[in-house]
Amino acid sequence: MVKPRRTSFCGSPEHDINRRRFLGGATALAGISGGLHALRHPVLADELKKQQKRVILLWLAGGASQLETWDPKPGRPTGGPFRSIQTSTAGLQISELMPKMASRLQDTAIIRSLNTRIGDHGGGSILMHLGRRDEPNLSYPDLGSVMARELGQADSTVPDYVTFYTATEGRGNAVGRPGFLGARYAPMFLTTSNKPEDIERIANLSEIDHKQRGDLRQLLSDRFTRGRETSRALDSHNVAYRRVRGLMASDTLFDVEQEPQKMRDRYGPTLFGQQCLIARRLAEAGTPFVKVSRAWWDSHGQNFETHLELVTELDHVMSTLLDDLKERGLLESTLVITMAEFGRTPKINGSLGRDHFANAWSASLSGCGVQGGSVYGKTDEDGQTVADGEIGAARMFATIYKALGIDPHKDYYVGARPVPLTDPGTTVVDELLA
């Protein structure tokens, strides 16, 4: 069993007090009208924005090339044909394929020194979802489930963990598992549609009938509990019903048609753009973790053609997402991550492709808790090895946790066994944090 402790705050007394006040208020209101409706309350909506941390993970499935994104090596034999361009941070250059991100790097930290060693899709994906190697005797939760556990509200009526993976290639590697945290923290996994299936009210049941049935159920529950001691089972039952009702109401969050055309145009017409717009809608409504998987980057052949297409899209959609979050006052409480299972080989193969490469690759962190405009780590002049600041998945995850105010060294309990959130001895990369 998991010992129920929620310590998702940075530790400052002021934050703690505000958080308690907020949680109390939010819980009370949620009990009345549901978390979605809480957004209509201006004071609470502001509190949500200030206090609630969220994560949007842009999962670049198949392995994006660090040389065509965050760590270009122009002029080197491994560099490929793309040039580097100056960013908004003095002395920091990224690939010319990312001009929009280059002009907005003030909220983004780049990690150029990941050495995760696992160069196969399956193993690399597990590592970069769990932040540690898998164990046969213990099922660890993935990043999304941990975030659902740490950042989600106990009686939230919006989904805690939503993951999009529409492409079929590599979908099986896109680990979304609550592990020992339990099914409560499992993802809502969207594959064939941008909208969740089977949460719509059945067609022959009217909204009024549906509500009246819920009211009747609540009346009977209240009558049953009257004069009795509090029943944990019934409480749980009631929470579950409220949650289902809330999830059904959250159906509209997945509908980009609810957004003005101008906003949809900003994100662009591609599937990835639409899904990132939905991710913003979910984050704004209080969903703590959304993963948008953009597959498939596995460019063994024609790497430069593939990256011309996919990085151009990433640059546009990611920069739009960051702008949108910032304009809504959400970026300081939302961490946007780009990562994959690995990067790609510096060596260009005979088909103008790049192969799997986990020894020296890049990721990015933007927004919440991040030292914007920074770069951590360095690769050698050809990008073959990490020359400075080598980190693995564990330190990256520890840094993500701390950026969100989560103690990376906290323990969960599986039975009596303490299971630390990150492997013992893992340190945070403080240089990446504000």
């Binding site: 040039r83 591609t270 599937l271 088909s351």
Partner: protein
């Protein structure tokens, strides 16, 4: 007039020069074995391909991959992913002029048969025609869509003049080939080979392919376009090479060469001046070179190449091929029999 009857069945590698870079373009000087090659290191190298120990001479000026080289008289003209065209003196290897020709990657150059015009195609989806003598822009040919049907940037890969210099064909990623008049820049025909553009909407959600090569037959009645068939695994260019030939005026497809042994893109196409054969070359991780009999509509000869071939040039007698690609320059020779024609 004596014209050699070259037999592709006698094709064999005469010389193979290994290099550490990727060679993307090649042109030869007259009928000699003196060649210029364009490199991934942004340099051009001049070398005698048949010398026992070739000593490449580097020419610096570009900032990225050198993807196009043409030569006329004393001039060499190069095009690059840096978007510029550079004119060079062939003898001194010095720059004559540099022109910022395109905003995006230059994919290929073609020179008119009389050597007076050079065409450049680039990912800005414009073909520009320049005077070789002075670098003056003569004409812009606009008509290829900037975006693919799936909202991603398109690419303008290939161009070729007709043998009389009156026509120019340009070809893009989505499988569109356009025939233009050189004098007026008027579109005369549009040929579609949609199978050469693979959009994978389900497994990988991106695209690959395109028409990578285009060539007119000697009498200009036929237009050949090269690429691949539908790519099953777009990670690996996993598709059989493909050539389609059209009577471009009627739009009727006259030949289809698909489903043979070798996989990958057809990067280059060359018609024999008497339509004896059509040469196609390219590759995936590996390379291929093959000859099609246009009358019999069958393959005369096909061989595995030592590398993915990006470019080639055939000598005046059509019995020697200088091909460049990944880490290699290869010279193929064919035996010929002189005959009166």
């Amino acid at each position: 007039m004596m014209m050699s009857q070259v037999d592709p069945k006698t094709l064999k590698i005469e010389k193979e020069i290994s290099r550490s870079d990727i060679l993307l373009s090649v042109t030869s000087v007259g009928d000699s074995s003196r060649v210029f090659v364009g490199s991934s290191d942004a340099r051009i190298y001049e070398l005698d391909a048949m010398a026992e120990k070739p000593e490449p001479q580097a020419m610096e000026g570009h900032q990225s991959y050198v993807t196009g080289l043409v030569q006329t008289g004393e001039l060499l003209i190069s095009g690059s992913f840096d978007g510029s065209l550079i004119w060079w003196n062939v003898e001194t290897r010095e720059q004559v002029r540099s022109v910022k020709a395109h905003k995006k990657w230059i994919r290929q150059l073609a020179i008119s048969p009389d050597g007076k015009l050079v065409a450049s195609v680039a990912d800005d989806m414009v073909c520009r025609i320049w005077k070789t003598a002075n670098g003056r822009l003569v004409r812009e040919l606009k008509g290829h869509a900037e975006k693919t049907p799936h909202h991603f940037p398109s690419m303008l890969y290939a161009c070729s003049f007709s043998s009389d210099g009156e026509l120019l064909a340009t070809a893009d990623k989505t499988g569109q080939t356009v025939v233009w008049t050189v004098k007026k820049g008027k579109q005369l025909a549009q040929i579609e080979t949609p199978i050469m553009y693979t959009w994978d909407p389900k497994q990988r959600i991106h695209s690959i392919g395109g028409v990578r090569s285009v060539a007119f037959s000697a009498d200009n009645s036929l237009l050949a376009v090269g690429g691949t068939g539908t790519i099953n695994n777009i990670d690996h260019l996993e598709a059989l090479s493909r050539v389609e030939i059209f009577d471009w005026e009627s739009g009727e497809q006259t030949h289809e060469f698909a489903g043979d042994t070798y996989k990958g893109l057809v990067e280059q196409l060359v018609f024999h001046p008497e339509n004896q054969w059509l040469l196609a070359a390219g590759g995936d991780h590996n390379g291929f070179i093959k000859f099609y009999d246009l009358n019999e509509k069958k393959i005369i000869k096909q061989d595995k190449a030592p590398m993915h071939i990006h470019d080639l040039v055939v000598n005046e007698a059509y019995d020697t091929i200088y091909a460049v690609g990944h880490g290699k320059l290869v010279v193929w020779k064919m035996q010929s029999e002189a005959s009166e024609v």
